[in-house]
């Protein structure tokens, strides 16, 4: 049993992303990329300069948003550093 001194809680990992770009993948065909301003215990998030991607049958619908409070309910995955996709 090796004990890991650098044990990191998931919430601490998100905390380190505050102020930087983050890629949010929702349940269903929706993704958002923006700068993380803060979050709470439910992982509701405040994001800034957000690009929202909705994948539909016709293609990708892109919405730009100034500042949002995103409900944590439908968040599936968080990726620090933003999307690898070019805009």
């Amino acid at each position: 049993m090796s004990h890991n001194p650098s044990q990191l809680l998931p919430s601490e990992l998100i905390d380190r992303c505050i102020g930087s770009k983050i890629w949010v993948i929702m349940k269903g065909d929706k993704e958002l990329v923006g700068t993380l301003r803060g979050f709470d215990v439910y992982v509701n998030m405040v994001l800034e300069d957000v690009t929202e991607y909705e994948i539909t049958a016709e293609g990708r619908r892109i919405t730009k948003l100034d500042q949002i409070l995103l409900n944590g309910n439908n968040i599936a995955i968080l990726v620090p550093g933003g999307s690898p996709d070019p805009e």
Binding site: I18, N44, V46, V50, K64, D66, L69
Partner: protein, 95 residues
């Protein structure tokens, strides 16, 4: 759901804005509220709480980006809310 504000504040920097801070800052401002169904509501945010229950004025209902309805006052139950956005929005169709 009282939006436990202090949880994320371990950074201590002044730039941290928790959901609770955001809710405080946007009352009375024009907002876009998107529901999980994809429907958008644009209007003036009259009042809201930690459940994201929302009361709006001069509300316009947009379905697929098209104006479908107008309401003088509207209450939105928080469980339907995907996000609340400060108003500044452009739409574009991507490939």
């Amino acid at each position: 759901m009282s939006s436990g504000g202090e949880k994320a504040a371990s950074g201590g920097g002044g730039s941290v804005k928790t959901p609770a801070d955001f809710l405080k800052s946007i009352r009375g401002r024009p907002v876009v509220v998107k529901l999980n169904s994809g429907v958008d509501y644009r209007g003036i945010l009259a009042c809201l709480d930690g459940y994201m229950n929302i009361a709006m004025e001069q509300t316009e209902e947009y379905v697929n980006g098209q104006l479908k309805n107008k309401y003088g006052d509207a209450f939105i139950r928080g469980n339907n809310v995907l996000y609340i956005s400060t108003s500044k929005r452009t739409l574009a169709e991507g490939a």
